[in-house]
Each structure stands twice: as structure tokens, then as C-alpha cells.
């Protein structure tokens, strides 16, 4: 599969490197093509590098791995024609770090960033997932012992099936995935970030992830 990873921060790099290591073609994108830091990283990791639009043009699947505060602008920069009909994996969290740590979870009233992005870009087949765990766990779920999970929210069942395959490439077993339903359900996993931030304090230095035990 050909992947666009929008965002060259820690999350974007972790996902891009993991997919490239597993034999997929990956193009990372940032605001400008002239990002020497991202270019150097990309070369070392066997990944193509360019603007958001360059990456989106390349990818069959687009992963949004930027700050939630910038996600709408970044998809806009990627460009509607380059998102049309594509599976877009929304890993973002609407976190505002402007007042330091812990960040505030900023979301459209009663809504979610995922639902907002899908509404803004109806030509994309958006699936929200991976946002409830840190980047190291995203690409190495087996590093957390015991039972834990990811949540999937999206309006397009076929897109969710594609995302299930992508997650399997990253090491996630199908039984670790909980399909919550339509994109409106992205609100729940996004709101979990409040607890996630407190857990980084309560479990210092631990690698953790949420689970849902059930009968």
C-alpha cells in the first residue's frame, strides 16, 4: 500500500517509519517541501518527503498525524482532489498545549474533531483511530502486556476494513479493535485524552494503553 503521512512530528515519524520498515511506500508531508530536518529524517528512514499536497497526491491511504489544532488546515493544504475517495486515518487529538501540561481537550461543543474533519472533507473516507495511545504503542502494541485495545469510528464500513488491515501491519490483532460505529462516536475516544494525560502522571514512565474487558 502507498501511504501519505501528514505530519513530521513524533507521531508521524513513528508511523511512517513503521510502515516503511514493513515494506510499504510512504511519503511524509509537512507545511513546506523545504524542511531540511524532515528531509534528512526521511532519507535515513527510506521514506519520501515533501509538502502536505505532495504526500497526499502520492498516498492511497492518508494518515493525519498533526496536532489536532492544525488538522483542518493541514487537510485543506493537502487539497480536496487529493483526498477524494481515499481512506483518511485521523490520529489527531484536539489538545491545546498553549497553557502547558496537561493540555486542555478542546472540541466542538458536543461534537468531536473527527466528526468535524469528516464534515469539512466529505470527499474523504475518514476513520478515527489510534488517538488513544502514544506513538510508541501505536507502532508496537505488543510492547504493552495484557489486554488492551483501539477504537474505530467512521461512517464507511469498507474504509474501516482497510484501516483494520493497516492496523494489522502495525501489529494490532483484529480482536483488539472495537468498532464504535459512525464518526459521531469519535467523541468518546477523544474525550479519553483527559484521563490519558492524568495517567501519564499516575503511571510515570510506564507504557500503557486502555482496554475494555467484557464477558
Amino acid at each position: 500500500m502507498r501511504f501519505a503521512v501528514l505530519g513530521t512530528g513524533e507521531v508521524g515519524r513513528t508511523l511512517a517509519a513503521a510502515l516503511a520498515r514493513r515494506g510499504h511506500d510512504v511519503h511524509i508531508g509537512s507545511r513546506s517541501r523545504d524542511n531540511t530536518d524532515a528531509a534528512a529524517w526521511a532519507e535515513t528512514n527510506g521514506v519520501a518527503q515533501g509538502s502536505f499536497a505532495d504526500a497526499a497526491a502520492f498516498g492511497e491511504i492518508v494518515i493525519v498525524a498533526v496536532s489536532g489544532m492544525h488538522a483542518t488546515a493541514v487537510l485543506g493544504a493537502a487539497g480536496r482532489p487529493r483526498l477524494a475517495g481515499k481512506v483518511v486515518i485521523d490520529v489527531t487529538n484536539p489538545l491545546d498545549f498553549s497553557r502547558g501540561f496537561p493540555p486542555r481537550v478542546v472540541i466542538p461543543e458536543e461534537g468531536s474533531l473527527g466528526a468535524h474533519l469528516q464534515a469539512m472533507f466529505p470527499e474523504a473516507r475518514l476513520v478515527k483511530t489510534l488517538n488513544t495511545t502514544n506513538n510508541a504503542v501505536m507502532a508496537d502494541p505488543a510492547s504493552v502486556p495484557g489486554e488492551h485495545c483501539l477504537f474505530l469510528s467512521g461512517d464507511d464500513p469498507e474504509a474501516k476494513a482497510v484501516v483494520t488491515e493497516v492496523l494489522s501491519v502495525l501489529g494490532w490483532r483484529a480482536e483488539q479493535l472495537i468498532d464504535l460505529g459512525g464518526i459521531a462516536t469519535a467523541r468518546g475516544p477523544e474525550q479519553m485524552l483527559v484521563l490519558w494525560c492524568d495517567l501519564t502522571v499516575a503511571l510515570p514512565g510506564r507504557r500503557f494503553n486502555f482496554g475494555v474487558a467484557h464477558d
Copy 2:
């Protein structure tokens, strides 16, 4: 231990019955002493019954098991002198069912109901817990297989130690409890109710609870 359980709905009855069955003295409270339905239930279950104030006067430990929308008023009816110095276990969720299911999670902006209640009743030693699971699991955690947990938030470490004992009476092992820190951390578990509501739809008929897997 002598318990006051404020609230005679499903959560209150489940907790009151479980504590009584395990040999503790329990007094349930509702808006009025003249609640024939609650009185009949209490008699059958070996529990005393009366007003919120009656129950609070009796209990060494007070459990708030009413709708979050009414919690402030109910603690007010219980009365400040009858809460002074006592451990108050806040099981409530700020859920507004006025527009049907799923309810909206209504919380003070950037705050939590738990922190609000502690601020309103500084004489109480409030601990938020149990609000992230349904009443059947609260009193029978072993009915959910696998690893799952509860969160504790509160400003008084001794009060949290008392609550750990109470939870042990209900069947919760110490290693299932995650101490998040002060009462300000009640926001995270309260915000999980958004996901909790969607999980009742995604896992229909299943008994479930959240977990946190970590290394």
C-alpha cells in the same frame, strides 16, 4: 462500617444491598422519609430507610448514588454538619438524559462534578470512584473476566485508603485501583462516560469495564 447510601435508584440499591449482604449496617436515603417503595425494598434487604439527612446522620461513610444533575442538591439536603469529616464516595456522573439516550455529559467547563462537589462541601472528604462502570459490575467486579480497573480521585489520601477498604468489601482487588491524584483528576473518568455510552451500543448485552494495561 456504617454506610449512608444517598439515592434509592438502581445504583443505590445495588451498593446498599451488597454492603448489607456483607455484614455492614446500611441506611439508604431519598428525598422524603415517606417513600413506600424504598421502604419496602429496604425492609426486604435488611437496610434502614429514611431521608437524605437521616441516612447521612447514620453513616460513617456516605455514598452519593444519585443522578449527577441532582448531586449538589442531595448533599445539601443531607446537610453540612452530617457530612463534616466523613468520607464521601462520589459515584455520580453528570449525565443529562433530558434529550434521551445517549445522554449528554454535562460538566462545569474544564472541571468535573467531583471537584465541584468537593468545592461546595469542603467539610466532606470526597473520593470519586465507581462512576466508570455499571451498577452490576460495581458490586460484582469478578463478573467481568480479564483485567479491568477503577479510578480514584480525591484530595485526602486517608480517605482514599478508607475507600480502598470499601471497594475491597465490594470485591475489588487493590491492584485493580488506579489512584489518579487529587479531586481535579475526576474530570477524566467523568469524561469517559461518553465512550461508556457508545460501548453499551457497540457491545450490546455485554457486561464490560475499562482497563489500563501497562508495563
